[in-house]
Amino acid sequence: MTEKVKVRIDGEVIAATAGQTILEVARTNNKYIPALCYMEGLSTVGACRLCMVEVSGVSRLLPACTTPVQEGLAVATTSPQLESYRKIALELLFAERNHVCAVCVSSGHCELQTLAQEHGVTSVRYPYSYPRLPVDMTHPRFVLDHNRCVLCSRCVRTCAEVEGAHVWELAGRGIGSRLVSELQRPWGEATSCTSCGKCVQACPTGAMAEKGWGVEEMTKRRAAVSRLTSMREGE
C-alpha cells in the first residue's frame, strides 16, 4: 500500500511514498514550490499554475500539486523559464482585478502579495482590466470583496468538502468567471450557509474577510481548516 520511492528534487535524493504529489513531497522536505490554489486538506485543482515544475524526460512543464511521484522522478523546482512564467502569472492576477494592497485588511498577510514580493514582481507589464466589481457586505459577520478574488476556489472546496454546505461555486466562464453563493444570492441571504467562516479562513487574499478589521489587521487561520480534514482522516 505505502510503496516507498526515491525521487530527486533539485538534485537532492528524497524518500517519498508512491501516490504523493510532487508538491506534498517537496513541502514535507522543506523544498519551496510556490502555489496559490493548493491548500492542504482540500482536493487539488491545478488552477493557478504557479507550481509548475520541470521533470526530466518530460518535455512539458507539470503542475507539482497534481503530479504523483514515482520511482526515479527528477524535479527541478526552479529555472529561469519557470521564474519568468511564475512572474507573468502573478502579474496577470494583479492585472485581472483591483488589488489595492494599500487599503486591504489582509495586507501583510496575503498570499498573493507575498508571492509577488518573493518573485520580484515590481510592476505589472500588462494592461489593467479595472473591472467594476461589487463588494458583498450582506453577511452579518463576513464580507466578500470580488475585487480581490483570484478565483482559486479554495473557499468553494472548503465549503463543499469540509463544511459540506456547497454554498459557493464559480459561475460564468473565462475572464467573466465570478464566485457566487447559491443562485447569485447575496451571501447574507444564502440559506445553505452555516456561517462557519471556514471559507474566510481558507481565502488566500483579502477577498473574504471578517468584518471589523482595519487595513493590515486580518490574519487567517488556514491551518485550522487543513487540520480539520487531517483529523477526520484519522476517524
Partner: protein, 1051 residues
C-alpha cells in the same frame, strides 16, 4: 424485425437493396443542413408533389450530403441499368424537366448534370448502378472530387440516413456481426492497432492503444463516449457525417463496446446541430429495433446501448475531461490529468472518448483489414481525413483525402483556387488551436507531424483559405477573441493571459501598438501555451505564434506604417477605397466635393493627393474597384473615371492657371534644402511635386529629352494623349521643380557627384531593360523588344514593322504592342504560354485588343524564330502547352506537349518582362538584390546609403503607374521628415469642409462606364479610345458612394 441470425440479416439486406436499387427510377435529394440551407427542402417537396400528381412510378428518398457544398442542392437520379447521375444547383423549377426526361428515358438537362457514378465502393459492400451517358464525366473526373478517397464519407449522400435497411443493404453492421461471431476482443484491438488509426479529433493519439487501456481497465462498468461536440469554427465534417450516415457511427461504437467490455455508449453532440441530433436518435431507435443495440445484440449475448446528450455550447467541452465534467452535472471545466479518463472517467469509471470521425473508420478496418487501411495515407498517418475546405476558394465543401496530401492540392486542384482572382496568402488549419500556413509553404503534406512542425495542427480538419483581403493580425485577433471567450476560466494563464493577449492585439488593429508589444505578446503566448491546464489554453496561442512567425511583417505594418494592407482594421484607414489606393487618395472626399458642385475644391483635393490625376484617371489599375463596399449592392463606384473627369475639367480648360496658382499657395516656406531626383517618370515626378510643395529645391535628372518616363514613352497615345500629360508636368514645373534632360546619371555625372551637391537623393528609374528570353532566332532582322518599339512609335521615329506581327507575352506591354502594331496596319497575333485567366494584362485591354482585330493564341510556348535566307524573320514556331500542376502562385504550370504550331510572320515583338538596369549605381555603394533592384527600408525607402532613397520599379521590379507614384509620395514624406525632423505632410492639405452625413438613400443607378471609340475607328488612328464619363454620369457616380468614411456615431 429483430435480427438474430444470418438468414434474418440476409433478408433485411435484400429489403434494403430493393430500396436502394428499386425496379423503378429513384430520385434522392441531398438533405443535410447545408442542402436545406440552400433550398433542398423546396426541391424535395416539388419532386414529391409532382410525382404524386402525375402518378409516376418513381421512388423518392432523402439522402445526406455528398460534400460538394458549393454546388448544393445536389440531387441523385437513377434509372435501372444506367449510372447514377448527380445533379447540382437544382432548383424547384428544374423538377418538371427532370421528371419529363426520366419518363422518356432521356437524361436531365446538361446544365444541371454534374457527374455520374457507375459503380460505388461502400467498402463494406459494392453497388453497381449501371453504364451509359458517355458524355457525362465520372464523379472523380470532376476537379473537386479528383483524388478524393471516400472511406469515412463512403455512404454520405448515397443512402437514406433515416433507413437502417439501406445501411444494411450496403454491408452495414456486417463488421459488427463478423466481430461478434468469430473474433476475440484482443484480435480486434490488434487490428485497430495495426491499422495505425489515429484519433481524428486533433491530438492524433493511436486509437488501438486507447482501446487497449480501456479493455484492460478493471471493473464491469465502463463508458464509451463519442465526442460530437464539434466546436471548431470552420469545421463541420462531424455534423455532415452524423446527418448523412448515423449508423456507421453506431456500428463503430458497438464494435468498440464489444472489444473493450463497455456496455454503455454516449454520443455527446452539439445542440446547435438539431438535424444531426434528430437523425442520430432515430438511428438509435432503429438499431435497437433491429437488434443492433440493446441487450443480446444480434443474438450473440452481447449487451450494448447508446444514448445521446446534447452539449449546450462550450468549445472547451471538446476537451475530454471537460466533456465528462459536463456529463456529471457540472460546468465544463477540465480537470488535471492524471488520472486519465481510461482510469477514472465518467463518474469515476474507466472511459474512452473518440471523435466522430474515428468511429467511422472502424467498420472498414474490420471488413478490409489493417493492411488495406495503411495502403492509404502517409507512413505515420494512415488512412484518410475529412477536411472542410472553406474560405476564399471557388469550390467549398467537405473533402476526404489521404493523409499526406500537399496543401496545394486542396487549394488549387480541389478548391479551384482563388474565388475572386486575388492572391491566396495563407491557409488556416486546425481551427482556433491551429495556425496559419503561408502560401509559399503550400507544398507541405497534410499530416499530424508536418503540421505540428509548422506550429499548426490538423485538429478536426478545418481548412480556411485566406487571401490578400484577410489581415493576418485580425485573424490572430479573431482566434484569440474566440478562445478568450471560450476559456473556462479555471487556470490563470488561459483565463487572464488570453484576455491580455487580446488587449495587446486590439492595440495592433487600432494602430497604438509598439515594437515592445510584439515581444510582450510573444512571451505571453509562450507562457500560456506552456503552462495552461488543458488543450484549449495550450493550443490557443498557436494562431498568434504562427502569425508572428510567418507574417511578422503584417504586425510591423500595423505598428510602423499604421497600415493594414488588407483593409480589415478599419481604424487604420479612411475607407476601403482609400486603403487600397497606392496613393491613398481620400476618394470619398473628392466624390463628395464634386457632388456638392465644388469642382475647384474637388480638383484641389485630387491634385494634393495625386499630382498626375488625368494620367492615372486613364491608366490606373483601379484596385479601389475591388474593395468598394458598393459591390455588395451592385457594382463598384467608378472612382477612377470620376477623378479623371475632375482632372480633365480643370487641366484641359481655362481654369488651369487659376487652379495651378491655388496649388502653389499650398507651398510651405522655402527650406534651402536641395534634393536630386533621378528619373522623371511617374515615381520621380510625384516625389518632386511633393518635395517642391514642402519648400525644397528640387532638380530632376532624366536621360530622355522630356519628362514622363513610361507614361510618355511606353504608353501609347491612344491610351494616354500626351497633351494631358504635358499639362500635368507643366503644373509641377510651376511649383519650381527644375529638370535636366538628356542627362544620363552614371555616365557623365555619377551618383557620387550628385551626392556632393544635394542634401538627399531619390532614385526612381524605370524597368527599361527587356528580359531577353533565350530563344533561337532572336538575332534575326524583324525581332524587337516591346519597350523600344513603343518608345519609337511615341517619338514618331520610323519603325520597321512588317505586315504580319507576332507578339510574345501576356502583360500590358504585350497588349500595348499588339494594339499599336494594329494601328500601324499589321496583322497581329499574340502568343501566350498560359491560359487567358493567367494573363497579367488588364482584362479590358485584352478585350479591346481583340475588338481591334488582334488574335491571341493561348497555351503556346515559343520554341524558335525561323528566319529566311536574308536573315529576315519568316515564322515563329511554338509548342502547344497544357495546364499542369499548380505552382505556388496558384496558376497551372504550362507543360509542353508534342504539338508544334507555326505562325508565319515578318516581325516578332518580345514582351516577356522588363527589368531594372542597375548600371547607373555602380560604385555608389548601394546594396542591390539578386534581381538588380535596390534594397531599401520598406517603411522609409532609405537605401543602404544614408540620404539615398529609392522607389518605384527600381525597388519593386516592373509594376504599374499608381504603385510607382505611391512610392514617390511615400519617399517625399520620408525625405522631408528626415530633412526637417518633423512630420509636415498634413500641413499641405487644407481643411476641406464637406458633407459628412451618410446618404439617406444612395443612388440606385448602376455603375456608369466610360464610352469608347468604336473599334472600327481605332485601327489606323491614335485617337484616344476611352471617351471618359460625361459630367452628368460622373455626378451620378458620386451619389452612388456609400460613404464608408463616415463611421457610426457610436464609435
Amino acid at each position: 424485425m429483430r435480427i438474430g441470425d444470418i438468414a434474418a440479416f440476409a433478408a433485411v439486406r435484400e429489403a434494403g437493396l430493393a430500396k436502394l436499387l428499386p425496379s423503378k427510377p429513384r430520385i434522392a435529394v441531398g438533405m443535410g443542413t447545408c442542402g436545406s440551407g440552400n433550398g433542398a427542402e423546396a426541391v424535395y417537396s416539388a419532386f414529391s408533389s409532382q410525382i404524386d400528381v402525375r402518378g409516376l412510378a418513381i421512388q423518392l428518398a432523402p439522402v445526406g450530403c455528398f460534400g460538394f457544398c458549393a454546388e448544393e442542392p445536389l440531387v441523385n437520379v437513377w434509372v435501372p441499368g444506367r449510372p447514377l447521375l448527380m445533379l447540382h444547383g437544382v432548383q424547384p423549377s428544374d423538377v418538371a424537366g427532370i421528371l419529363n426526361g426520366l419518363h422518356e428515358g432521356a437524361p436531365p438537362p446538361a446544365r444541371i448534370v454534374l457527374c455520374k457514378i457507375e459503380e460505388w465502393d461502400h467498402i463494406t459492400g459494392r453497388v453497381k448502378y449501371g453504364t451509359g451517358f458517355p458524355d457525362v464525366p465520372n464523379w472523380n473526373e470532376i476537379p473537386f472530387f479528383s483524388g478524393q478517397v471516400k472511406t469515412v464519407l463512403r455512404n454520405c449522400g448515397l443512402i437514406n440516413p433515416d433507413d437502417i435497411e439501406e445501411y444494411i443493404a450496403i454491408g452495414g453492421y456486417q463488421a459488427l456481426y463478423k466481430v461478434l461471431i468469430d473474433q476475440s476482443p484482443a484480435s480486434v484491438i490488434e487490428q485497430v492497432k495495426a491499422s495505425k488509426l489515429r484519433g481524428r479529433g486533433g491530438a492524433g493519439y493511436l486509437t488501438g492503444n486507447k482501446w487497449e487501456f480501456l479493455a484492460k481497465a478493471p471493473g464491469p462498468e465502463k463508458y464509451l463516449i463519442c465526442n460530437a461536440d464539434e466546436g471548431d469554427p470552420g469545421a463541420y465534417m462531424n455534423r455532415n457525417e452524423i446527418e448523412s450516415d448515423p449508423h456507421a457511427l453506431l456500428e463503430g461504437m458497438a464494435i468498440a463496446g464489444y472489444v473493450t467490455g463497455a456496455a454503455r455508449g454516449i454520443v455527446y453532440v452539439r445542440a446547435e446541430y438539431p438535424l444531426a441530433v434528430l437523425r442520430l436518435e432515430q438511428a438509435i431507435e432503429q438499431a435497437r429495433a433491429y437488434g443492433m443495440l440493446g441487450t443480446n445484440v444480434l443474438g450473440r449475448g452481447f449487451d450494448f446501448d447508446i444514448e445521446t446528450v446534447e452539449g449546450a455550447g462550450a468549445f472547451v467541452c471538446g476537451e475530454e475531461t471537460a466533456l465528462i465534467a459536463s456529463l456529471e452535472d457540472q460546468a465544463g471545466r477540465p480537470r488535471v490529468r492524471p488520472p486519465f479518463p481510461a482510469q477514472k472517467g465518467l463518474t469515476g469509471k474507466p472511459t474512452n472518448i473518440n471523435n466522430v470521425e474515428t468511429w467511422y473508420n472502424i467498420a472498414p478496418i474490420v471488413t478490409k483489414g489493417p493492411a488495406w487501411f495503411t495502403e492509404t495515407g502517409s507512413v505515420k498517418s494512415a488512412g484518410t481525413k475529412v477536411f472542410s475546405l472553406v474560405g476564399k476558394v471557388k469550390s467549398t465543401g467537405l473533402v476526404e483525402m489521404p493523409l499526406g496530401t500537399p496543401i496545394s492540392t486542396f487549394i488549387y486542384a480541389i478548391g479551384g483556387g482563388s474565388i475572386n482572382g486575388r492572391d491566396i496568402k495563407a491557409v488556416q488549419t486546425g481551427g482556433p488551436s491551429g495556425g496559419c500556413i503561408p502560401a509559399d509553404m503550400f507544398d507541405t503534406p497534410v499530416d499530424y507531424e508536418t503540421l505540428a512542425q509548422l506550429g499548426s495542427i490538423m485538429g478536426s480538419g478545418g481548412m480556411v483559405v485566406m487571401d490578400d483581403d484577410n489581415c493576418m493580425v485580425d485573424v490572430a485577433r479573431y482566434f484569440i477573441e474566440f478562445t478568450q471567450a471560450e476559456s473556462c476560466g479555471k487556470c490563470v494563464p488561459c483565463r487572464v493571459g488570453l484576455d491580455k493577449a487580446l488587449r495587446i492585439l486590439n492595440g495592433f488593429t487600432l494602430g497604438t501598438a509598439t515594437h515592445e508589444d510584439i515581444a510582450a505578446l510573444d512571451e505571453l503566448c509562450r507562457m500560456v501555451r506552456d503552462t495552461s491546464l488543458c488543450g484549449l489554453g495550450q493550443s490557443a496561442p498557436n494562431p498568434v505564434l504562427t502569425s508572428l512567425r510567418h507574417f511578422r511583417r503584417e504586425f510591423e505594418d500595423h505598428i510602423v506604417a499604421k497600415r493594414c494592407r488588407a483593409g480589415v482594421c478599419e481604424d487604420l484607414a479612411i475607407s476601403p477605397c482609400e486603403n487600397s489606393c497606392p496613393l491613398h487618395m481620400n476618394i470619398p472626399r473628392f466624390l463628395q466635393l464634386y457632388k456638392e458642385g465644388r469642382l475647384e475644391d474637388a480638383f484641389l483635393s485630387v491634385i494634393l493627393d495625386n499630382p498626375l490625376p488625368a494620367s492615372t484617371g486613364r491608366v490606373c489599375q483601379h484596385p479601389c474597384d475591388d474593395h468598394c463596399r458598393r459591390v455588395g449592392l451592385d457594382e463598384a463606384v467608378n472612382m477612377r473615371e470620376v477623378h479623371r473627369v475632375i482632372a480633365d475639367e480643370v487641366l484641359l480648360s481655362d481654369r488651369f492657371d487659376a487652379l495651378a496658382a491655388r496649388v502653389a499657395e499650398r507651398k510651405l516656406e522655402p527650406t534651402g534644402r536641395d534634393v536630386a531626383i533621378i528619373g522623371a517618370g511617374p515615381t520621380g515626378l510625384t516625389c518632386a511635386y511633393y518635395l517642391a510643395l514642402f519648400g525644397h529645391s528640387v532638380t530632376v535628372f532624366d536621360s530622355r529629352p522630356a519628362a514622363g518616363g513610361m507614361l510618355r514613352y511606353a504608353l501609347p497615345e491612344y491610351r494616354l494623349p500626351k497633351k494631358v500629360l504635358d499639362r500635368e508636368i507643366e503644373l509641377i514645373e510651376r511649383l519650381g521643380v527644375k529638370f535636366q534632360f538628356n542627362a544620363s546619371v552614371g555616365e557623365a555625372t555619377t551618383l557620387n557627384d550628385i551626392a556632393h551637391q544635394f542634401d538627399a537623393v531619390f532614385m526612381a528609374i524605370g524597368t527599361w531593360k527587356e528580359a531577353w528570353v533565350y530563344l533561337p532566332g532572336t538575332e534575326l532582322t524583324g525581332v524587337m523588344a516591346a519597350l523600344p518599339f513603343l518608345e519609337a512609335v511615341s517619338r514618331n521615329d520610323p519603325v520597321p514593322v512588317g505586315k504580319s506581327v507576332v507578339v510574345i507575352g501576356g502583360g500590358n506591354a504585350a497588349i500595348d504592342s499588339a494594339r499599336t502594331a494594329r494601328r500601324l496596319g499589321a496583322d497581329v497575333t499574340v502568343v501566350y504560354r498560359r491560359e487567358r485567366k493567367d494573363m497579367p494584362a488588364i482584362p479590358e485591354e485584352i478585350e479591346a485588343a481583340e475588338h481591334e482585330g488582334a488574335k491571341i493564341v493561348y497555351l503556346a510556348a515559343p520554341h524558335r524564330i525561323v528566319g529566311g535566307r536574308s536573315g529576315q524573320v519568316k515564322a515563329l514556331e511554338a509548342v502547344r502547352t497544357r495546364p499542369g500542376e499548380f505552382d505556388n502562385s496558384g496558376r497551372r504550370r504550362p507543360v509542353p506537349t508534342d504539338e508544334v504550331i507555326r505562325l508565319d510572320c515578318d516581325t516578332v515583338i518580345l514582351a516577356v518582362g522588363e527589368k531594372v538596369d542597375p548600371d547607373f549605381c555602380k560604385a555608389s555603394g548601394l546594396v542591390l538584390k539578386e534581381d538588380g533592384t535596390i534594397e531599401v527600408d520598406r517603411y522609409s525607402l532609405e537605401s543602404s546609403r544614408e540620404r539615398f532613397y529609392a522607389g518605384g520599379d527600381l525597388i519593386s521590379g516592373a509594376s504599374n503607374v499608381s504603385n510607382a507614384m505611391g512610392f514617390g509620395k511615400k519617399a517625399a514624406r520620408n525625405i522631408d521628415k528626415r530633412l526637417m525632423g518633423q512630420k509636415r505632410f498634413p500641413s499641405l492639405i487644407p481643411n476641406f469642409v464637406y458633407g459628412m452625413e451618410p446618404p439617406e438613400t444612395p443612388s440606385e443607378c448602376r455603375r456608369h462606364v466610360a464610352g469608347e471609340l468604336p473599334a472600327a475607328k481605332r485601327v489606323g488612328s491614335y485617337a484616344e479610345v476611352s471617351l471618359g464619363l460625361t459630367a452628368v454620369a460622373a455626378l451620378e457616380e458620386t451619389s452612388r458612394c456609400l460613404r464608408c468614411d463616415i463611421r457610426s456615431t457610436e464609435r
